[in-house]
Symmetry: C2
Subunit: 238 residues, 2 copies
Amino acid sequence: MSRASDRAYAAIRNMILAGELPAGTQLGEEALAEKCGVSRTPVRDALRRLESDMLVVRTDTQRSFVAEWSLHDVRDAFDLRAMLEGYAARRAAERMTADSLGRMRAANAQIAQAVALPRPDVGAFLEGNRLFHAAILEAAGSRRLVAQLGSLVEQPVVWRTAHHYGPDALHRSWSEHEELIAAFARGDGAWAEGIMRSHILRAYHAYADAHRGLSAAKPGPALSGNGAMTAHLIEVAA
Amino acid sequence: MSRASDRAYAAIRNMILAGELPAGTQLGEEALAEKCGVSRTPVRDALRRLESDMLVVRTDTQRSFVAEWSLHDVRDAFDLRAMLEGYAARRAAERMTADSLGRMRAANAQIAQAVALPRPDVGAFLEGNRLFHAAILEAAGSRRLVAQLGSLVEQPVVWRTAHHYGPDALHRSWSEHEELIAAFARGDGAWAEGIMRSHILRAYHAYADAHRGLSAAKPGPALSGNGAMTAHLIEVAA
DNA sequence: GGAGAGAATATTGTATACAAATGCCTCAGG
DNA sequence: CCTGAGGCATTTGTATACAATATTCTCTCC
């Protein structure tokens, strides 16, 4: 998209994810425009996008606020993602091409390399992970599915749990990808779907465990009294 | 939403669905603004919404065009809807309350009334149908699911197959709703999910049959040479 | 003291002007 | 005749001013 609109989107999103704008904060267009150094017009676009990411909610009278995220909401998102990505995996297995399979193998090779290091390269891991899942989605051949998952995976929930992952957890993720490749190579949709669902839900529990650990250790701004929490800067490795 | 923005959205959407703007037509903001009697600002909002409805596609350089809908795309949308609404039904069954169940019974009673007439009231049928499915979605208790299905069911695909339905087909729809109510009353999620999936996919085949019949009878603007078609003004009764 | 009407304030919606970019057409050169 | 560079026309992006609407505060009346 355009420059100013993108800048506004990224800036506001970062402020929310960094906890700079706590859940429930009202987001006035003018104030944000000043903070981002742009006019209200691109800010309005950005707020629209953040709303579809569910990082921002709007009242019936069009006032925008930073969304509250309960653990329940996170579970909700992962459940949907497990179902939709599982469906994508099934379709991908049924339509697999040598080309797509090659891209997945390449992506997972990058992951293997990142994990093999003495101190794993989390950035490279996440990039390879992104490529891997993108290749599946592309192989699934459903534009609608891309649209639906895009607003569920890419934007809304970006955390950095992966940084807390030990080498073993990262390796398990790689291993599950290998299993997916095996299922794809055989064109077994049911198998691929099953692997993918557990792959995603395992990531949820990694998040939930980390979250419980964090909130037990230091019940700071991560978890407010009523169970709501601000979105964390966490990337979940799936 | 606001008045001008809503008018623009509805006007453009109607022009697309009525075939007034055939698939592939470029949608210039200024031209649309003039047609709708508003300025470009609300038109831009409207185009964004239509894009998320997938009635409009944008090139990488931000030009908007009326989307092409192949039968394949329609099948795609129904497959996704079957999965998501099936999931909603399962969740709803597991969380059913007397209140929600009451609303569903009331909605289906309205449908029964509309169908029982000598000449069925399709408008009342569709409204009851909408209420019925909305009650399920609400009982499912997932805001994300509402968002995902909203952009899949409400906006994107509105056809009027129901008008071609005979009383028997309308009655079958009512009957499937009754079966859903039975599953909900018993809290049987798997049963509810199964009914819902077949309910949706039956609607797809009703559409596909009607479409085949239409395009065989008069291969007019409904079906262009390459298999693409403009969206029809058709409401599918599910 | 509480409730409601109304004004004052704050916020969002729309229109318009201008800037930036994209696409198209022409024309020169091979 | 084809190709590509340049400029012109079209289209979208952004800023700003103003209008409409929502919210809040205050003051009156009960």
